[in-house]
């Protein structure tokens, strides 16, 4: 599983907080986040193993983004703990948060290369400017995600799929071992989504652990090792077949979900996004 190429491997051990072998890459315990007294997350506990790929699903407002941000260490939990390789997230820069595309100012005057180069600043530290080796590594990351030819483009010239690839390239440049992706598939057309899934397979080969939020239950079943069903509380976490039971889905989605028998299984049709009545 852990097949990092040499430049990645040599840098992994140097700057990061020590990774204790045998501990799960991520351990979340009793995580609670409240905004103005309202619980966005309530007592969430789970572990992630290194190298696995997990889909987080749940209706709008279920706390998917909040969970990813708390794990990234961007949001301080109201209660509970998040540990990465046995340490608080503050000790690590090997966690990458890939933002929702709508959260980014695409008119900002930066090129694709500039954005991916940002991934290097954790390794550089203050008062040091990126050198040849950083640029070479940025190029390698861009090639890995297949957008090396777009390096000099301003970011608003990218398609949705390319935008997502750029942020994954930045996470690679950051040498992230745990990537948290906030709805990377939302708003992408089918070929672009397939491209991202191919990229996820490449990341699996590199041993990168993935936690990805999505609205698409079907894709969650099809492409991920484990799925997490979330609606403020953790309603289920495990193999898709064990988690996506009609009872649990009804608890998570309430009246917004309709279950229909199909090909001996169940097809869930329901609230996808935007809280509207899209069926």
């Amino acid at each position: 599983m852990s097949t990092f190429t040499t430049p990645f491997k040599s840098m992994l051990t140097r700057h990061h907080a020590p990774h204790q072998p045998g501990t799960p890459i991520l351990a979340v315990s009793g995580l609670t986040v409240r905004y103005n007294g309202l619980a966005a997350l309530d007592d969430v506990t789970f572990d992630l193993h290194a190298g696995e790929q997990v889909a987080v699903v749940g209706p709008n407002g279920a706390g998917k983004s909040t969970l990813l941000k708390a794990v990234a260490g961007v949001l301080a939990p109201t209660a509970g703990t998040v540990t990465v390789y046995g340490q608080g997230p503050g000790g690590h820069i090997c966690i990458a948060y890939v933002p929702q595309r709508t959260a980014v100012d695409w008119q900002f005057p930066v090129t694709v290369r500039d954005v991916v180069l940002m991934g290097r600043i954790g390794q550089l530290g203050l008062f040091r400017h990126p050198g040849k080796r950083d640029l070479a590594q940025v190029h390698e990351c861009l090639e890995l995600v297949g957008i090396a030819d777009l390096a000099n483009r301003q970011i608003n010239e990218l398609s949705g799929g390319q935008q997502q690839r750029m942020f994954i390239a930045r996470a690679l440049a950051q040498e992230a071992e745990l990537m948290l992706m906030d709805e990377p598939l939302t708003g992408l057309d089918a070929p672009s989504q397939e491209g991202i899934f191919q990229l996820l397979r490449d990341l699996r080969a590199r041993g990168v652990t993935i936690m990805l939020s999505t609205h698409d239950l079907d894709q969650a079943v099809q492409y991920f090792d484990r799925v997490m069903l979330l609606n403020r509380r953790l309603l289920g976490f495990g193999k898709p077949a064990e988690v996506f039971t009609p009872e649990r889905l009804m608890v998570a989605y309430g009246g917004h979900l309709h279950l229909m028998p199909f090909d001996g299984g169940l097809v869930a049709v329901g609230d996808t996004c935007c809280g509207g009545d899209r069926r």
Binding site: K69, A72, G73, V74, G90, I93, I95, A96, Y97, P99, A103, V104, D105, F108, P109, V110, T111, D114, V115, M118, I121, G122, L124, L126, F127, H129, P130, Q154, R170, Q174
Partner: protein, 280 residues
Amino acid sequence: MINLLDRLIAPLQYPFMVRGLLAAVMVGVVCAVVGTYVVLRGMAFFGDALAHSILPGVAVGYLVGGGARGPLFWWALGTAVLASLGIGAISKKTKVREDTATGVIFAGAFALGIALISTVRSYTVDLTHFLFGDVLGVSWGDLTLIAIFGGVVLLIVAAFYKEFLVLSFDPIFAATMRLPARFFESLLLVLIAVTIVVSLQTVGVALMVAMLVTPAATAYLLTKRMLPMMALAAVIAAASGVVGLYLSYYTGVASGAAIVLTCTACFGVAWGIQTVRQRG
């Protein structure tokens, strides 16, 4: 041809004109560089409010010093730094939105400044200088202060260029990189404050926001990376300073207004270029 050259050289026989040109160029460069962040982070209103809020500090200095100009720089600097750091605290502790809080506090401060200055009999002339600048009244001492403080601002921007870039583009990413976001946010506010003080005598309180925003916005329309945007903004601002001052010399228009109008004209041209580009 000779006539034009004469016209360019003639004003330079006046030392006040030379000092004014130097001030306009230096102020333009510093404002453009810091203004890049103001434009990209949507802080134009903050910059405007901060400039206005300096007035009471300047007024107190003016009253205490009996109208002496020398110490005003320091009074302005102290007020600006306090105000820039205070706004964060104020907006976090009130229920009203940040821009509303900014408007309430800083408009009040501005009124206080006017009230204080109006207690002096000869106030109209001095108030006009504070509001709209008096670039031709810049002394060598003022120029030295502009050079030192402007230089420090530019050095700090250069030193933390990549941190400010990341923080402006993607604050969540900056947080995952464990950048001390609070420190850099405050540092940026102080940089804006110092820039405003440095530019006070050139364009004045009321026109300040134009120097911060217009050249940077012009460059924003024409570039696709941040460093070229800063560089182009600096060139536009410096050139506008020179052109504006000559215009002021030959037409008798107020210098601050002439400089700002030149910047605005540049923005209009860039807007036109960009519109043509998009259609083409």
